[in-house]
Symmetry: C2
């Protein structure tokens, strides 16, 4: 794009050992202002920018993985950038440095791998601009990477994010010391402009909540720092200090180069464009967003996930509930979730996963395929055709799916809301996608799965009609298990004692705190199917106490029923 | 604060006629970059900044009200500001202009009213910084204003908003053409810095959604405008143009002065501080926020409302669902809600409201005090002690409260979620506060109301325990009406036909779409009260078909019950 570089230098650092099979390499891609020093090499070393994640025993465990991190092309920490000498002129490139793209950065990283003799990465991991590099790896060089971890990123910056970048660049470009980018041999560069750009950036990296936490109590007590910026408010002294510090270690031309690359990054804006962009992928994916990130908001991660789903690509997704804003992936606050998800995901990419046996073991039992006995699980498992692709709605930690895997099913995907359950599911090597059943199923295509499961969940669903309609759209066959409020004991409870029906098991709640907000019987469900044009292929009615199938008057004698249904 | 002004000039404009009683004056306070020209004076006149709201027949109807709008003290459109000549030096004040506060601005406006001979305003209306002025009017000069309308504002800027202001000011202060504020006699002022500040401001006035709408489709097609800012992206050309245009009409020193006043504005941060700040108010309030406003986010308006509630001040509140961000109050998109709420509120402030008779009429009938006959309304109304203060949870459009007003109740407040119903309620002269019953009742004090009502709403409540606990905390007496699922017909439906109970009236929904998610009987409710230490003083069981009270086996024979309860 707009020029060529004859030769490129990449400064990089490595951690851990490349194994004999050369298949344990993890490439970490840094964000706008990072560099190759992702972690300390030893205790005497300077801190790295991701010490909390990378190191011996950490989520990205350098005792297991060979970690590589290179300073970005266009950067100013050793790799070729605008401050490097242009061989054609013998002077720094300055604004003659070509406009580069995220793709160019990744192409340079690929060259580095060639030189290191690494054919295929175990994984690429990156957040923010680093996440965008990970997206390029996973789509353009998918044959060279087994897994992709994309954190707090997007396929295309929001217009709001872009707007902040524009203002930051204008501050640099209009700084009288910028001199069209030829400031390297002058006493002063565009320090004020670069500091202003950094201040704006800093605000966008934090959430409103995080800023309140940090500055509200002592709003009018600025820190005593030697800066030439407004120091009336504590947040001002903080930003001024951050801006002034940044100028010492970063080059304004690099800032322009990298921020333009980020702004130009664009895998598409419509669902169709994004689906096409992710079509080439052969990697396994983990996508993580943070609830309070407004620079790379969760809906953008969901767009990525939806495009992966549309391509039937293996993907897990979680929006981590965090108050920390965009910076969350750099902070310890939510490490127990995003860090552990990365750990579990990487572990499941290796041929012999560490954690898996334990997690799997949980799911099997001597007489049942499940330890945690759920009568309907067994019967549903029997109903799933061998080798079918299966989508489990409200999958919990994946117990049912993990059980199914033993019987050779080719594609198992779960949908779940709870973070902790998603983490456990990822640790089982499953693809778990975080979504609200009431409105999050639109990404799945018509007939995308052989079999869609909804086990003992319908009674807790707000939008019953939507969920069932979506279900029979997505699954060629669907299996629904429901508690039957027409069960004679429950009828008696209302009819004779005048109390709201409740029972042990899934119905053990009180009327005022039960998550079960839909009250219906087998007959009601069958009516519903008839009215809505849903075909019932089979009904299995069960008495969970005797564990026996009920053939006589199921609406009276069964407390649980399983239906096999489909769109007519 | 930091200096005094011997004499102050305020430039102002008026619209409409001051009536003989001199009680129809509405003061409009403008925001950071506004001025006194709030609306066109006639068709030949320049557009005003709030033409959509102010004018003949508009929400602030200049045929009924005498509208006043003054350029702010510290501004640059005719009122005394940093660009005015300092009588002490004969030169413009520049940075010698004292630091002024929102309080100073309002004090100057008060002086204007004195000169105009207006003892008491009908209302003060303002958004953003204008809203902060309205807050000062309503607390400091409460005897001089009947009603206060505060839109998209806060009692104290967020740290995030403050941070953006700091960066904008730094851009101005560090512009080499700023010259310590003494640029008036120089060929060029700090144009670049002021433009950058304006660009940042502009981004914060729009929502992410609004920016996507505006710029996403043609991201790479900048407008062809003659600006010296980056024009690579369409959003860049827009911001650059806005920045360049602003510089032509605004003075950088005024910008600094007004933005510092906004940043220093602080009525308190804790609930206790805010409650103390609002204690002096005697005015009636309308507070409106906009859901996508992230510069003055809705939770800050709610803080104001909570402080008013704590002082038993009459207040209505609505968070208007809007995609337009902070600018929403200036745009036509949501005018049908915020504009109409202002209209209804102002109307109810006048001694002889226009709209009221119609709205009230709706609530009365010949044989009942309600046209829309609701059996429990009548019975509940009878149970409310004469003259009691009443809080109606889930009040709808205020039919019940409007009915009560006829019987001389001193304070009637409703809580409701639906915007349209809130608007109708305000039009009836009621105080309606938007809140979610499940978590929005914390602002009400223990025993704040003589009587709290929850009529046929409990069955749709998620957090039953919390709502009932809050209710008996707030009300000395509480009245709850509930549908009885123990009613014999409903029992029969389940027992004999095996179908989920449903009936006409409030229970006419199907099991899969009913908003009624709690299924319980009179006996269940009584059990609950016993368990949770809630005392039941009285129970009235009703058969709504025969309209008769049920004395025998109410749990079987009544379909509706009313309870008078309290904390033990």
């Amino acid at each position: 794009m707009g020029g060529q570089l004859a030769e490129v230098t990449l400064a990089y650092e490595t951690y851990g050992e490349l194994n004999a099979a050369r298949d344990n390499a993890v490439l970490i891609c840094h964000a706008l202002s990072g560099d190759s020093h992702v972690a300390q090499h030893d205790e005497a070393d300077d801190p790295g920018w991701w010490d909390i994640v990378v190191g011996p025993g950490k989520a990205i465990d350098t005792r297991r993985y060979f970690v590589i991190c290179a300073n970005l092309l266009g950067g100013c920490r050793g790799s070729t950038g605008p401050g490097s000498v242009n061989p054609a002129t013998g002077k720094p490139f300055g604004r003659d440095f070509p406009t580069i793209t995220v793709g160019d950065m990744v192409a340079a990283q690929r060259g580095l791998l060639d030189q290191l003799g690494i054919e295929r990465l175990l994984a690429v991991v990156g957040g923010s601009l680093g996440g965008q590099q990970a997206l390029v790896w996973g789509t353009r060089y998918s044959d060279r990477v087994r897994g992709v971890v994309a954190l707090a990123t997007s396929a295309r910056l929001t217009s709001q994010g872009l707007a902040f970048d524009v203002v930051g660049r204008n501050a640099i470009l209009r700084d009288p010391h910028f001199h069209g980018g030829r400031y390297y041999d002058r006493p002063q560069g565009p320090k004020v402009g670069l500091a202003l750009a950094r201040m704006i950036g800093h605000i966008t990296y934090l959430s409103r909540e995080a800023m309140r936490e940090k500055f509200e109590a002592d709003r009018l007590k600025p820190r005593d720092v030697a800066i030439e910026f407004e120091k009336r408010f504590s947040v001002g002294s903080y930003l001024g200090y951050q801006g002034a510090k940044f100028v010492e270690r970063f080059d304004a031309n690099s800032y322009l180069t990298l921020s333009i690359a980020m702004d130009l990054f664009d895998l598409g804006v419509t669902a169709a464009e994004l689906t096409a962009a992710f079509r080439p992928t052969r990697a396994r994916w983990l996508v993580i967003s943070f609830s309070s990130d407004w620079l790379f908001p969760p809906e953008q991660s969901r767009d990525i996930v939806n495009a992966l789903i549309a391509n039937n690509a293996p993907v897990s997704y979680c929006e981590v509930q965090s108050p920390c804003g965009h910076d969350a992936f750099l902070l310890p606050h939510d490490l127990d979730r995003y860090g552990e998800m990365i750990r579990a995901f990487l572990d499941q990419l290796t041929p012999a996963p560490h954690a898996a046996p334990a997690a799997r073991g949980e799911a099997y039992g001597p007489t049942s395929i499940f330890y945690q006995h759920r009568l309907d699980y067994e019967r549903i498992a029997e109903l799933v055709p061998p080798g079918a692709s299966v989508l489990d709605l409200g999958c919990g930690s994946g117990t049912f799916l993990a059980g199914l895997r033993a019987t050779n099913h080719r594609r198992l995907v779960g949908v779940e809301l709870d973070e902790q359950k998603i983490l456990t599911g990822i640790g089982r090597g499953l693809d778990i996608i975080q979504a609200d059943l009431n409105r999050g199923l639109g990404a799945f295509a018509d007939g995308q799965f052989d079999c869609v499961i909804l086990s003992q969940t319908l009674q807790a669903v707000q939008d019953v009609e939507r969920v069932l309609t979506e279900m029979v759209r997505i699954g060629r066959t669907c299996i629904v298990s429901i508690p039957n409020f027409g069960y004679h004991r429950l009828r008696t409870m209302l009819a004779e004692t005048g109390r709201a029906p409740k029972s042990a098991g899934v119905l053990h709640y009180e009327w005022y705190n039960t998550p079960n907000i839909r009250f219906f019987t087998i007959a009601d469900f069958e009516d519903f199917c008839r009215q809505k044009g849903i075909r019932v292929h089979r009904r299995i009615a069960l008495d969970t106490e005797t564990k026996a199938e009920v053939f006589e008057h199921p609406n009276l004698n069964a407390d649980l029923a399983i239906f096999v249904i489909s769109r007519t």
